[in-house]
Symmetry: C2
Subunit: 274 residues, 2 copies
């Protein structure tokens, strides 16, 4: 693991690191915020998964999460959203390929060799963070948009790894949305029955989630139709999953929305990880 | 004035606007955050001046100021750092010309026709903001690095316009620094006696500041030698100016530093503007 930068922030350290990933077959960059409380011992760890076109950097610089992490004593991990670099497949569209890994393990060419983000996040980077940083074994997960999809689906796929779960305006039902059908088709092929294992609404119905879930969604989100929050709200109620689903009047899809409710999410995870 | 974007944020509105500026002879972009309290009447207004290479956008997205502005009920204005565009003089260096206006009115070619940032900020944009947004006549000013220099010098040049003053790691003594000598020489010519009117340390000694000043400076600032905080600390004490100068252990020059102490500055201004 290489240290690319470390900056003191709210009494803790915001670092950016890189490492050679076995899962994705290349160099991956990620960021970790370690709060001041970690000087006294391991702290719980919240994973923040970002949306389409993002890297580790967007949420790290724009979400204001460090202030809340320092207040509540959580570490935060900001992974990248896909493999990158020469030799890694890509697409001209912003919503497929690099910057759009969808947190799944692709099985189809040309994506399969590097697009193994599910294993990367849930296993490889998890092990690395656990080994290299003063974090406890208590991890939670959240994310925004495609990262909200990632948080919901990874939590349900790996329930023993994540004790707390929330999402900001997640892509909730990708198998029924243009933010999902193209990507699941590319990464898994045309057999739609394979897609539901990577769709939060379907997973809620098939596997469920034993803890509770916090979801914030902007009512004026410009991508509302692509996110399918109504399908998520219905599935949460239908499956009797304990949750708080908040439709926030006037808010859009931007980081102005995420930053506004970031403290509520950190507090939510802190209460459940301690 | 044109509205480029508006996003709901912490119950208020983060907007980006542009207008044709008489002072700088071209189109200028700026941002304003209006907190939720403004629905009930005019709110005090804090000006945040940015540093070298920045636009209106850096602090708007990275400083986390909106959360505090919403908490304390202040509007925040984020101006650009220079005129821009075709026909506007520039220099290959990052620290002269576009992105580096130093908040002064240049008298020398090729800068004089557009680089009139002092008049732009203190008069033209002030009048525009006063006319177009629900802000009271109580204004404060702060800034980072070159913007800290701008805040300190504009406040002392226009004491009737600014009732509260603070700065993050300001360029404190530009007439004695490589962050200043080149620029003051370019904008005002070689007569160094003309430079002191645009140097916070010199202005403190010549004109002073009747209110108090908050200054935060990172002890591990990578530009410490260029900023001359020791000259500012000495001048504040020598002139018996009421102030709080805080050297913050371990912090550097980045927005991780600014965001960490942003709430203290907003609280400082709010207490003095109400």
């Amino acid at each position: 693991m290489k240290t690319l930068s470390e900056n003191k922030c709210f009494g803790g350290v915001q670092g950016v690191y890189s490492h050679e990933s076995t899962a994705t077959g290349g160099e991956m960059t990620f960021a970790v915020y370690i709060p001041p409380q970690a000087k006294k011992g391991p702290v719980p760890c919240l994973w923040y998964l970002s949306g389409l076109t993002c890297t580790h950097e967007n949420a790290m610089t724009k979400a204001g999460l460090q202030a809340h992490a320092a207040e509540f004593g959580l570490a935060i991990v900001f992974p990248d959203t896909s493999p990158r670099g020469e030799g890694v497949a890509n697409d001209e569209a912003y919503d497929l390929g690099q910057g759009a890994g969808f947190y799944v393990n692709a099985t189809q060419a040309p994506w399969a060799p590097h697009f193994q983000m599910e294993t990367y996040i849930a296993t490889e980077l998890r092990d690395l963070v656990q080994a290299q940083f003063p974090v406890s074994i208590h991890h939670g997960i959240t994310g925004h948009s495609m990262g909200g999809h990632g948080a919901l689906t990874l939590a349900m796929k790996y329930p023993s790894q994540y004790r707390s779960l929330s999402a900001f305006s997640p892509i909730a039902n990708p198998s029924q949305s243009d933010w999902g059908r193209k990507q699941l088709g590319a990464y898994f092929g045309g057999d739609e029955s394979l897609w539901t294992a990577h769709d939060a609404v379907c997973l809620l119905k098939e596997k469920g989630w034993v803890e509770d879930i916090l979801v914030d969604q902007g009512a004026d989100d410009q991508f509302y139709d692509l996110l399918k929050p109504e399908a998520l709200a219905a599935a949460l109620a239908e499956t009797k999953t304990a949750h708080s689903f908040r439709l926030q009047s006037g808010y859009d899809h931007s980081y102005y929305f995420v930053s506004t409710f970031a403290r509520d999410h950190v507090a939510w995870h802190a209460a459940r990880l301690k």
